[in-house]
């Protein structure tokens, strides 16, 4: 009960933040009624999905300060569990998604235990390695479709049990609910004991250790929470796209995007991943569709994307949220 009260308590926010949260929520709620085209709707779904991913990454990457670049493997685990259970045994989404999350949790403990012996660059590269190893295995494992991937069976009628709908609106509301669960969880998390411990570890590991914090165990816990978040999103991706292959759910670029959105928006803040996703997902999509129309401009959209990463990391490593806070301090 206490935890739920904490999760819904936004009292430490400024008035401007609370008002924007309300306006934002209202907008999300009525968005499908605004008569937006299917392209805009897809972008919105992607935005909510990547916010969810970013929030998950924020636990270990933002609050914990560990450069984690292997989240895509958990997207893959979540997506493959849902897809395979549906193809092999016709198990509904509502059962297979939690199973996927449990597998992701178990796997993250196994990987996390040796992984968190490492720090800094060693850790960052090692997370990439674990993710790529899993991708290579799935790429060559004929039982799970290898590089061809797997298609989910398509149902004639919209089906709530298998989460298959004709209209994107249903998917939109479903991912919105997940998004809010994630948001409230993160609101609780940042005020929880683990949240404070992680920030302490980020500031000064030696000091944290001398206060009796079990650093490695804290990091593993945060890593597993992040993995669970991402696996939920992965499960959603499977039923939403109806087709998954190792390249779409386990690629290195997906891991990078997840971390980047949280970083660009502002790591270690509740708003960061949401701002980052709100900024990057439309940019990615619209640039892609806009420049893709011109022949000979292949790659320009990603060049702009990459230049943005370079500018942000060189001039404002705290991201967009850092800029906002700076402006606010100057204002008051």
């Amino acid at each position: 009960m206490e935890a739920i009260k904490d999760a819904l308590n936004f009292s430490d926010f400024s008035r401007a933040e609370r008002i924007s949260l309300i306006i934002f929520s209202l907008f999300l709620l009525i968005f499908p009624l605004l008569g937006a085209g299917s392209f805009t709707k897809t972008v919105m779904i992607q935005f909510l999905l990547f916010s969810l991913f970013g929030m998950g990454w924020n636990t270990i990457g933002g609050y914990g300060g560990q450069v984690e670049l292997g989240k895509a493997q958990y997207v893959g685990i979540g997506a493959y569990t849902v897809a395979l259970m549906m193809v092999w045994w016709k198990i509904p989404f509502w059962f297979s998604m939690p199973v996927g999350v449990l597998i992701a949790l178990g796997y993250s403990f196994i990987i996390g235990y040796p992984l968190f012996r490492l720090k800094g660059h060693y850790f960052a590269i090692a997370t990439i390695c674990t993710s790529l190893v899993l991708k290579d295995i799935f790429d060559n494992w004929t039982l799970v479709g290898a590089a061809k991937g797997i298609e989910l069976p398509i149902h004639e009628h919209p089906d709530f049990v298998y989460m298959q709908f004709k209209s994107d609106t249903y998917y939109y509301y479903f991912i919105m609910v997940l998004f809010y669960i994630g948001l409230f969880y993160m609101n609780w998390f940042r005020k929880s004991k683990l949240g404070y411990q992680l920030r302490m570890i980020k500031d000064d590991e030696d000091a944290a250790e001398s206060l009796g914090i079990d650093i490695r165990w804290c990091k593993i816990k945060a890593y597993s929470i992040a993995s669970a978040f991402v696996a939920v999103g992965g499960g959603f991706m499977a039923v939403y796209n109806l087709y998954i292959d190792p390249t779409s759910v386990m690629e290195l670029s997906l891991s990078i995007k997840i971390a980047l959105m949280a970083m660009l928006g502002g790591a270690a803040s509740l708003w960061g991943p949401i701002i980052g996703a709100a900024f990057l997902v439309p940019l990615d999509r619209f640039l892609g569709s806009w420049l893709g129309g011109y022949k000979g401009l292949i790659g320009v959209d990603f060049m702009i994307y990459a230049a943005l990463i370079m500018v942000v990391s060189a001039y404002q490593p705290r991201g967009i949220w850092g800029i906002i806070e700076q402006l606010r301090k100057r204002g008051s």
Binding site: P114, Y122, A124, A126, M263, G299, I309, M310, A314, P317
Partner: protein
């Protein structure tokens, strides 16, 4: 017999890997930055040799200086225009920064050269092979191995024997103390990037003789280079040489081993996977690498 053949081929590849990883380890040693864009320097080196030999109609081996110069200029440009500003930020920003540089160069190459796979087709050594007893070696690979070795030795002597090289080492050991001794550490950083870019440019120029150049080729080689650097001990030059050899041998011998055992899971698909796995195990079990002098 297969194993010995793979071993010899692995040594040739390993010499090249060592040259690729050399720049990475120097940059890491001097300024504690992991350069994700290193593989893209290699990719641009490959393209430089490809286009120079095509347009000037010269042998690809004679085009190597072009790729070295390109690499040096690219290294200097990245340092002075970008990396210098990254250094003020936290480590996480540095990682993302070089990652951004990597993406930028990848898509820049895609924009310029499209996604076609290109390989040098004409040349003195291209397509010819040397057979010694039961073994057959491609001349291009032999040239790549030997020239890599020579480049490596040149850089090694430069760093250990000249005054500038010693200043570079001093900067790597202790930046503050070095600057008190009157060493301009900013210049040393730039030098590290120049050497890093130059060596990897040469490696790319050698590689394009027998490997396809395409915009995304870098990521594979940067992961191999990471494994070499980790195995040798981050920042250790001697270490990276032996680590390169070991990784090269591992990459070649592993599929042969799988073939002999007859297992599908030890096949050639996984020859890169085994390198990732090797990296993971090395850093977990022995974080200081084989020759590392610090953690």
């Amino acid at each position: 017999m297969l194993i010995i053949d793979a071993l010899l081929q692995g040594i040739l590849m390993g010499l090249l890997f060592a040259l690729v990883a050399l720049g990475l380890t120097i940059i890491f040693g001097v300024m504690d930055i992991v350069n994700f864009a290193h593989g893209e320097f290699l990719m641009l080196g490959m393209y430089t040799v490809y286009w120079t030999s095509l347009f000037l109609n010269i042998d690809p081996l004679l085009a190597l200086p072009a790729s070295a110069i390109m690499g040096i200029l690219l290294g200097l440009a990245s340092y002075y225009c970008f990396i210098r500003y990254l250094l003020r930020g936290p480590a996480i920003a540095q990682l993302f920064g070089t990652f951004g540089l990597m993406l930028f160069l990848q898509y820049f190459a895609m924009f310029l050269f499209k996604t076609d796979y290109r390989m040098v087709e004409k040349g003195l050594l291209v397509g010819k092979s040397l057979s010694v007893g039961p073994f057959i070696f491609d001349w291009t690979k032999i040239a790549a191995g030997l020239l890599s070795l020579i480049s490596f030795i040149v850089v090694f002597y430069f760093i250990n024997m000249t005054k500038t090289g010693k200043a570079l080492q001093a900067t790597a050991l202790n930046k503050e103390a070095a600057s008190y001794m009157g060493i301009k550490t900013d210049r040393m950083n730039a030098l590290a990037w120049a050497i890093g870019g130059g060596t990897v440019g040469v490696a790319g120029g050698l590689l394009v003789n027998f490997y396809y150049a395409y915009p995304m080729v870098g990521i594979l080689f940067v992961m191999i280079a990471f494994a070499c650097v980790a195995l040798g001990g981050f920042g250790s030059i001697k270490g990276v040489f032996f680590a390169g050899l070991l990784i090269g041998i591992l990459e070649m011998v592993f599929p042969v081993f799988g073939q002999l055992v007859g297992s599908d899971f030890l096949g050639p698909h996984f020859k890169v996977t085994i390198i990732y796995l090797a990296y993971f195990i090395i850093v977990v079990v022995r974080p200081q690498g084989l020759f590392g002098w610090r953690q």
